[in-house]
């Protein structure tokens, strides 16, 4: 998928309707995901490191008897790694990976709230001046003097977590 295709999609996807989102923090930034894809929020639990895997998905966990991968958006965004804290959580989301609905755990430094947001007020990520790969961001929404990042999980997982520079 080209960057262009992703971006146009992001713009056209915006609707005036408010959607339920879960907001959470990674590396001091606020991210939001549609609540509809969130299955569960977990406290940290024992992880099994998968030797030889990409840093983006370097571990698996036992989620209700299923072994699911643990992904770190931080790696895709090229953010610096931070140690886990008492607030760290795992957000389990259901994604479509190559046509198969799959459960994936996302590492979060903390989860904030479930709230209503309208993507209509969002804007596509600027081409320059952004410290994160723009192709992984669906849109930015201004809210209470700061902004909330809607990551494009589809693009992130399609790229397998490699940023363009790395790939």
């Amino acid at each position: 998928m080209s960057d262009l295709a992703l971006k146009t999609k992001a713009v056209h996807d915006t609707t005036a309707e408010k959607i339920e989102v879960l907001t959470f923090e990674i590396g001091g930034e606020t991210f939001a995901l549609e609540a509809a894809i969130v299955r569960e929020i977990l406290d940290l639990m024992p992880e099994a490191i998968v030797p030889g895997s990409r840093p983006f998905v370097n571990a698996v966990i036992n989620f209700r008897g299923k072994v699911i991968p643990l992904a770190d958006i931080r790696v895709a965004m090229g953010m610096p790694m931070t140690a886990t804290t008492i607030d760290s959580r795992i957000v389990v989301v259901e994604l479509d990976l190559d046509g198969t609905p799959s459960l994936v755990g996302l590492r979060a430094d903390r989860v904030n709230e479930v709230t209503s947001l309208s993507k209509a007020g969002g804007e596509p990520p600027p081409r320059v001046g952004l410290k994160w790969p723009p192709q992984f961001i669906e849109c930015l929404i201004h809210r209470e003097g700061t902004f909330v990042i809607f990551p494009d999980l589809e693009a992130i997982f399609a790229s397998k977590g490699h940023t363009r520079q790395q790939a």
């Binding site: 639990m45 024992p46 992880e47 099994a48 490191i49 998968v50 030797p51 030889g52 895997s53 990409r54 998905v57 698996v60 966990i61 036992n62 008897g65 299923k66 072994v67 699911i68 991968p69 992904a71 990976l97 190559d98 198969t100 799959s102 994936v104 997982f157 397998k160």
Partner: protein, 763 residues
């Protein structure tokens, strides 16, 4: 009892018209306004005729007809549809949906009555068959009166079927009344129905006594049991059933029993068609029977015995006069009335030329209680899968219990835990066995394929199979079907030469394709072998270079070169044929096999042929594993692959630094330090252990920090996000809820071999 008709039409005027006409003709009419409504009404009541419009809201006529045909209470109901167009395709579609006939709108109500499809042969035949079945089933389940009564109805209908009588509304209503009576006979088999029966049969007789209705009359007044002459006649009955009879649930012994019940009976078994043991299909019926029966019953009664199988069998019935010489001796053996399954009888007969001394006519029917078959139950596959999941969960819980018990001083708890472990293990084994099916079910599919391939390629091909009794998990077998189709096609199309080329190279004209299966340890190896030209290395190389898969002139090991044919888009066929050579196939095979955690070996000798071997783990669900610890992580090594575990002393450990193999009883075994491979970053334990694993010939030692022990491993697949990690074939959940990864032994072995090769190259 009047016939009830359902009319389905969204036009109120059509409905009213039909209703008025039909009630006037003495029918009971139910109306429905659209397909959905019609279907709901049909669910509630059985109708004798359905007349429907096609263009309707909610559910159109075609859909409704299809649905109606699935309703158990409307089986065989004639369905007419109304159409304004005389469109042939529409009629075809409606017929395909299950309609019996049609009427063109606007229609005369009289026409509808007339068009009750009385002259519809298919319908008459359907009724006849239904009566026939009812009679047979009735007799089988002990409803003798029902059987006898139905027999008369059937006879009447037979006349219609043969064109001796005409189907009239009179017949229809007589039959409908007869049907009600049959229901009464089912519900109250012992009641007194004689008068009713006589009346009905008279009506039936009247209905079919058009031209020369004599036989029905005579039948209707004679009870079936005494239908024929009382003089005993000797009959010679030869019958043979199709080979697949057992599959259809036909038991030839029941026919013999019925014949025996008729009178003095001599049964000879003709087993001349029995093939030699190696060609014998255990589920096929190879026997024919010849029965000499002396009975006072007529030919029709004898024919009745074979009522249900008549269409597929050959039956000869000949009357023998008393001075006819006895039946000529055919090679035969004792007809064993106790045979529980066909296999048991067949197995002890190695040669078709059993001595005639073994001929011993059996005259008495055996006690039916002795003939209990090995009972089997059909279970939907998904229920087995569910059960499998539950067993998997149970195994995980059990390992938790085991862990708790191990840390406890409570003897009682420990005992329970051990019991639990044993039971779980047994349950798991039983579960596995339930899911196992012989690969014969898989191989059988390819006979037809090879037959078609012969036609398409113009090559003579002989398919041979062995190891068909090897059993594998049902799901695995299903997922092997398509890859094997590719391989067989490939062998026929690319592997085998045509007849001329084969003769020129001194091979038999017919090419051979061999499918074989065998089990070694925890794997089943299924191979497809052809005796064709073998893989042309030069062409593979040229193709791979052209496709950019390898550098031109690059040195590449033979096995690696051959493995190139499994790359996507690779095909050496110079022209695209019908069969293979579209550049799809082999990579699909590889993917399919890898998804089964299997691997593919390919060997090929130029001019002699190729063998593709698929190594497939026996099951996908639960395996026995060896739980080990490397650094802080836990890993499972599939137990069938483990050869031995060795403790490595510190001296040995130090000496082996910088080398990649250890001397094990005078042979050098390459080894891999998993701690290094996994980059654990931890200090090694004082005493390292080596687990020697193998895949067939090749061995490799895996050095781990600790061997924890045996672990029943419920395999969970890895996410697609970990597709790139080849070291692990899956994951499992341990007793404490943590996750352990399952090592892919095949992969580690080839890694070890590579490592060894590299080191040798340096040295």
């Amino acid at each position: 009892m009047t016939a009830s008709i359902l009319t389905v039409d969204d036009s109120v005027s059509v409905r009213m018209t039909t209703r008025i006409a039909l009630t006037g003709a003495g029918y009971k009419v139910t109306e429905a306004v659209d397909g959905l409504d019609g279907l709901n009404k049909a669910r509630a009541t059985r109708f004798d005729l359905v007349v429907t419009d096609l263009n309707m809201p909610n559910m159109d006529g075609l859909r409704m007809i299809e649905e109606l045909r699935r309703l158990p209470n409307q089986i065989g109901v004639p369905i007419l549809f109304l159409t304004t167009e005389s469109d042939a395709t529409l009629k075809g579609r409606a017929k395909a949906a299950g309609a019996t006939g049609w009427l063109v709108k606007p229609f005369e109500p009289d026409q509808l009555i007339r068009e009750h499809r009385l002259d519809d042969r298919a319908l008459v035949d359907a009724v006849f068959r239904a009566l026939h079945t009812l009679k047979g089933s009735g007799a089988m389940f002990g409803f003798d009166r029902l059987a006898a009564f139905t027999h008369h109805c059937e006879t009447a209908f037979d006349r219609v079927r043969k064109g001796l009588a005409e189907a009239t509304p009179g017949l229809v209503s007589a039959v409908l009344e007869a049907r009600d009576h049959m229901r009464a006979l089912v519900e109250d088999p012992s009641g007194d129905h004689a008068a009713e029966e006589r009346y009905l049969l008279e009506r039936l007789e009247a209905a079919v006594s058009g031209a020369a209705a004599t036989s029905v009359a005579s039948i209707s007044e004679t009870p079936i049991k005494a239908a024929a002459s009382t003089m005993p006649t000797t009959w010679r009955i030869k019958f043979s059933l199709p080979e697949n009879s057992f599959v259809n649930g036909t038991n030839p012994l029941s026919f013999l029993d019925e014949l025996r019940a008729m009178g003095e009976c001599r049964v000879l078994l003709d087993k001349s068609a029995l093939p030699p043991l190696e060609k014998l299909e255990p589920t096929a019926l190879y026997f024919h029977w010849e029965v000499t029966l002396t009975t006072d019953r007529g030919r029709a009664d004898i024919e009745d015995v074979f009522l249900f199988v008549m269409d597929d069998m050959t039956l000869e019935i000949a009357a023998l006069s008393s001075d006819t010489p006895s039946v000529e001796v055919v090679p035969s053996v004792t007809e064993n009335a106790d045979m529980p399954t066909p296999v048991v009888t067949v197995a002890p007969l190695p040669e078709p030329s059993a001595p005639e001394a073994a001929t011993r006519p059996v005259t008495d029917a055996a006690d039916p209680k002795l003939r209990r078959k090995a009972e089997s139950v059909r279970v939907p596959a998904e229920r087995l899968d569910e059960l499998m999941d539950r067993v998997g969960e149970l195994v995980i819980v059990q390992s938790r219990l085991q862990q708790i018990a191990a840390n406890s001083a409570d003897i009682g708890l420990r005992t329970v835990s051990e019991e639990m472990e044993r039971l779980c293990s047994e349950l798991r084994v039983t579960m596995m066995v339930l899911r196992m099916v012989p690969v014969a079910t898989l191989f059988d599919r390819y006979r037809r394929l090879v037959h078609d391939l012969q036609r398409d390629t113009g090559k003579k091909i002989e398919l041979s199979t062995d190891g068909e009794s090897t059993e594998m998990d049902k799901t695995v077998i299903e997922r092997l079907a398509d890859p094997l189709v590719h391989l067989v096609r490939n062998a026929a199309d690319h592997g085998l030469e045509d007849g001329d080329a084969r003769r020129a190279s001194g091979k038999p004209e017919a090419g051979s394709i061999r499918l074989s299966a065998r089990q070694t340890g925890g794997e089943v190896i299924i191979s497809v072998t052809d005796d064709g030209r073998g893989i042309d290395r030069a062409r593979v190389r040229a193709k791979a270079e052209a496709a950019g898969l390898i550098q031109p002139g690059a040195t590449i090991a033979d096995q690696d070169l051959l493995q190139l044919i499994f790359q996507p888009g690779f095909s050496t066929a110079s022209s695209v044929t019908n069969l293979s050579g579209r550049g799809v196939g082999m990579d699909v095979v590889k993917k399919a096999i890898e998804s089964l955690h299997g691997s593919i070996d390919l060997t090929s000798r130029p001019g002699e042929g190729s063998t593709v071997s698929l190594r497939i783990p026996l099951t996908l669900a639960i395996i026995d594993g060896l739980l080990v610890r490397v650094g802080e992580g836990h890993y499972v090594i599939p137990l069938p692959a483990v050869e031995e575990c060795i403790e490595i002393s510190q001296e040995e450990d130090l000496r082996s630094r910088g080398r990649a193999f250890l001397s094990l009883r005078d042979t050098l075994v390459p080894f891999i330090r998993l701690r290094e491979l996994f980059a654990t970053g931890t200090k090694p334990d004082l005493y390292q252990k080596m687990v020697v694993v193998s895949t067939g010939e090749e061995r490799v030692g895996l050095i781990v920090d600790q061997i924890i022990g045996h672990h029943q491993t419920v395999i969970k697949s890895m996410s697609k996000l970990h597709d790139d990690v080849t070291t692990f074939s899956g994951a499992t959940i341990l007793g404490d809820g943590s996750v352990a990864l399952i090592l892919d032994v095949g992969n580690l072995v080839s890694l070890g071999q590579e490592q060894e090769a590299q080191l040798r190259a340096i040295a």
